[in-house]
Structures are given as C-alpha cells and as structure tokens.
C-alpha cells in the first residue's frame, strides 16, 4: 500500500488527527514545562493516576475515572501553581508525588487485594501506554481531542506573552504588577487537563516524550522563546505524523515509533546546533 492508500483509511485519519493535535498541545506546553524543570510531570501524574485507581478499586467505584481525573488534576495543579517560588523545587516535588502515589497504590493493592473483577495490572499498563490504541479511536474521543486542542492552542496564543513573563522571571513580573498567581494557576490547569486527557489517549510514556523532545530539540538550534515555541510545535507535529504513518505501514507500536522519530530529530538538531555554534 502506498502512503495515499493509508491516508484514505478512516482509522488512520483519526489517529493522525488526534496524534498530531495531542503532539501539538504537548509541545506548546512542553517549552514552559521543560524550563520550569517539570519535564517528568507526565510520568509523575501517571503514577498518581495509578494510586487513585487503586483507591477507586478499594472503595468499589465502578467508574474509576470519577476519582482518577479529579485527583490527578488536583495533583498537577498543586505541583505547578506555586510557580518558581515553591518551597520544594519542581524535580523534587514531581519525584515525591510520583513515588508517594506509587507506594500508596501498591500498599492498598497489597492490603485490599482486588477481588476478581478489577484488573489493576491491566490498568497500570493502560496508564503507561494509553487506554485505547490510537488506531482504534471512537468518534467521541476524536471530537474531544479536537475541542481540547482548539482550547489549548487558543490559550497558548492569547497567553503567550504572559507565559514568557512568568517563566522567565516570575518575581519581576509580580513586582511590576502582573497577576502571576492567576497566570500560574491557569497554566497549571491547562497543563493538567492536557496531560491527564492525553494520558488516557496515548499513554503517559508518549506524553512525557512529547513534552520534552520537541522543546529540547528546538532549544539546540533556536535562541529566542518565539523561535523555540514555533519550532517545537513543527517538530512535534511532523514527528507524530511520520510516526503514525510508519507504524500503520510496518505494524510497529505507534507510541514507540513516534518517540523514536522524536529521538532522531533530537539527534539531528543537536548536530545542527553543534555545527552552528562553531
């Protein structure tokens, strides 16, 4: 089959659309996350989701998303909303919440073994690698991704200068009258919702990769915030599209293929950055 044949298959179209949109959102937010030292937040939050899932199983919730979503979003906001003046710095607080949630989850699972119906290890795998394979998306999930992406991109464009100001020097921004607390909270909520929903769609491993790789690749070559933001978005979209098409063609796992594409681009951009700086 040629490339065009694949593009006519509805499931490939859906996967491309959702994959590209999620990649775009993740990379836009990734620049500020990487610079705030929150690169590993996707990974940390997936452990929180796991902890919340075991609690849901223990108390016998049938629809565990009712607990998992709010708990994960609250944790993300707690981590991010304090901004650069947090008592515990980003990397340490993510590590704490991530390891803590994992331990609590495992402890609960051990004390109150799930009886029969709950399949926790399956759920863990789901949070890591994505609940629904991106090649079997339902129309509702596709529409949800489209809606969410429109909101995130609009937010990023409208708040671009504010995101720069609070990421570069939060104290200066606050001292000269910017509402940094409000902006930090808004940024945190948007990031939290994106990460949690994307975690459901493509899994936390892929979301972590989508957050860090495009931003870091762009930072090898571009030296301005605007250049890095635009370049990261382009890299992310191209790698996601290439990854999905290659995966559809060769039958490789989609997430891993996208990540490998991102790694290749990172290598390429490191090389360009190295040559440019000489």
């Amino acid at each position: 089959m040629t490339l065009w044949d694949y593009l006519e298959l509805p499931y490939v179209q859906n996967a491309l659309l959702v994959g590209v949109l999620v990649a775009l959102c993740a990379s836009l937010l990734g620049v500020t996350l990487v610079l705030r030292r929150f690169s590993f937040i996707g990974d940390g939050l997936s452990h929180v989701a796991f902890g919340a899932m075991t609690i849901a199983a223990v108390v016998g919730l049938t629809n565990d998303m009712l607990l998992v979503m709010p708990v994960t979003i609250v944790c993300a906001v707690l981590l991010l909303a304090a901004g650069s003046n947090a008592k515990i710095k980003g990397d340490a607080s993510v590590a704490m919440i991530s390891v803590g949630a994992l331990a609590v989850g495992y402890l609960l699972m051990n004390r109150f073994p799930p009886n029969g119906k709950a399949n926790i290890s399956g759920d863990v795998c789901t949070t890591l690698f994505g609940g629904t394979s991106i090649l079997t998306l339902k129309p509702l999930e596709v529409w949800m991704s489209i809606g969410l992406s429109v909101v995130v991109v609009a937010f990023f464009v409208l708040f671009y200068h504010k995101i720069f100001a609070v990421t570069f020097d939060e104290n200066f921004a606050a001292a000269t009258g910017a509402k940094t607390r409000l902006y930090n909270l808004l940024i945190a909520v948007v990031i939290a919702v994106v990460i949690v929903l994307a975690m459901k769609l493509v899994g936390s491993l892929l979301i972590s990769a989508l957050v860090v790789f495009p931003a870091l690749s762009a930072m090898r070559v571009f030296k301005s915030f605007r250049g890095v933001s635009i370049c990261a978005a382009c890299i992310s979209v191209l790698c996601a599209a290439a990854g999905i098409l290659i995966a559809a063609d060769r039958g490789t796992p989609v997430g891993s293929t996208i990540v490998v594409a991102d790694i290749v681009v990172f290598g390429l951009f490191s090389l360009i950055g190295f040559v440019k700086s000489r």
Partner: protein, 236 residues
C-alpha cells in the same frame, strides 16, 4: 507627598522579623542608596516595597501619583537557567507586561517603548541575540532596559554591579546616574560599594543594628556613618 514612604515598617519571613521600626521617605528626583552588612535585610526591604513580601507591620505608601505597577525593578542576581531561550528584545519587551492586564498582545506603543529603552541602554546591536550568551555587563543593561519599560518614575536596583569588572561597573554607575539626573527618574539602589554610594547618591538609608536615613552630608557626620566608613577602611 513623598513618592514612597514607610512608617514604622517591620518586615521578615514567615512572621519572624528581620528589620523593625523602619521610617523613611523617598521624594521625586532622589537617588537613595541602601547600605548595610550582608544579610541585614536590604533585599528583603526591597521586595517588601515591591509587594513581593507582605510587611509584618506597617505599610509602604506610594504618593505623587505613583502606582504599584509603575515601579521598575532590577533583581539581585537573576538566576536565569543556563538553557533559557530568550532574545534581548523579548526580555526588554516583557517589562511592559505589568501594564497589560488581560490584553493578550503588546501594542505599538509598548514595542516603541522597548526599542527606545534598548537604544537608551546602547544595546541595539544585541537586540536579536540570546540573553544567556551575553557578558555580565551586557546582561545587566538588558535587565535595566526591561526595568525602564516598567516605569518612568521609580527604579529599584538590587546590587546592580555585583560581579562586574571595574570598567563595566563604572559605566553602569554612570548610566544610572544619567537616568537620575537627565531623565529625572528616582533611583533606590542597594549597594555594597560605599564609595560609589557616597559619590552618586543624594540620600543614604543605612540598615543594621542602627538605622539611619537622611542626606549624604548628614550621614557622613552621623555616628552610624562614621563607624561604617571606618570599618570599610575609608576616612569620612
């Protein structure tokens, strides 16, 4: 009324006072130097004036039509991460953010103001360059241009020459003195360098076990001043 006035101000972190009973005033056109030992609370005082820290007691009052978001600030050692991608122009323009409110984009006037301050600091050639690749003195000029975008009236500078070599230090002092004398911008500066403080400033605020606030001439005659000068190896 004074541009800035503090009455019986107490400040510190988490309810623990570092400085108490501070009274001082800054009037339009003044050049006030804040001096004192390391760790005496100079930076904390500046952050309190800026509203970054709440005072434990008392209030910082602004007058002469000065609003809280019209104060320019040059922080002590901005620890910008080594890998932060930001061009000089982007940073200077971000000085206008405080006035933006919820407007998403900068206006033409904001951009003109940024360029005006870039020219004033003589860093046009660096405008497209990456901030982290500049020398210490160039970086301070960028941050000063940013501070000037935030104010036309009052500049708060926290050790603006720390870590700069003597030549660049002298240039920096001259720039600040020009802003004060030619452009009429009121300056409040924290400095370790007593000699420069005495040369450029009109007023001194000495904080420590004893607090002095007044004109430079009076400081040189005061007991606090004489003792501090002697410790610094200078003859009043």
């Amino acid at each position: 009324m004074a541009l800035l006035a503090c009455n019986d101000l107490s400040l510190g972190y988490e309810g623990k006072p570092i400085l108490e009973h501070i009274d001082f005033e800054v009037n339009t056109g003044d050049y006030l130097c804040i001096v004192g030992e390391n760790g005496s609370g100079k930076s904390t005082l500046m952050k309190t004036i800026l509203g970054l820290i709440h005072p434990l007691k008392g209030k910082v009052q602004t007058g002469d039509g000065l609003r809280q978001n019209e104060i320019g600030y040059l922080p002590q050692q901005t620890v910008v991460q080594r890998d932060f991608p930001a061009s000089v122009y982007e940073i200077v323009l971000s000085g206008c953010q405080g006035r933006q409110g919820f407007r998403p984009f900068y206006s033409k006037a904001d951009k003109n103001l940024a360029w005006e301050n870039i020219r004033r600091m003589e860093i046009e050639k660096l405008a497209k360059r990456c901030y982290r690749e500049l020398s210490g003195g160039q970086q301070q000029r960028v941050l000063l241009a940013r501070a000037l975008c935030a104010t036309r009236k009052l500049l708060l500078l926290d050790e603006p020459v720390a870590g700069l070599d003597p030549k660049v230090t002298a240039e920096m002092y001259q720039l600040i003195a020009d802003l004060n004398r030619k452009d009429g911008i009121t300056v409040v500066m924290i400095s370790h360098d007593l000699e420069a403080a005495l040369r450029y400033a009109t007023h001194i605020l000495h904080i420590g076990a004893r607090i002095f606030c007044g004109r430079v001439e009076d400081y040189l005659k005061s007991e606090t001043g004489v003792r501090y000068l002697e410790r610094g190896g200078m003859n009043p």
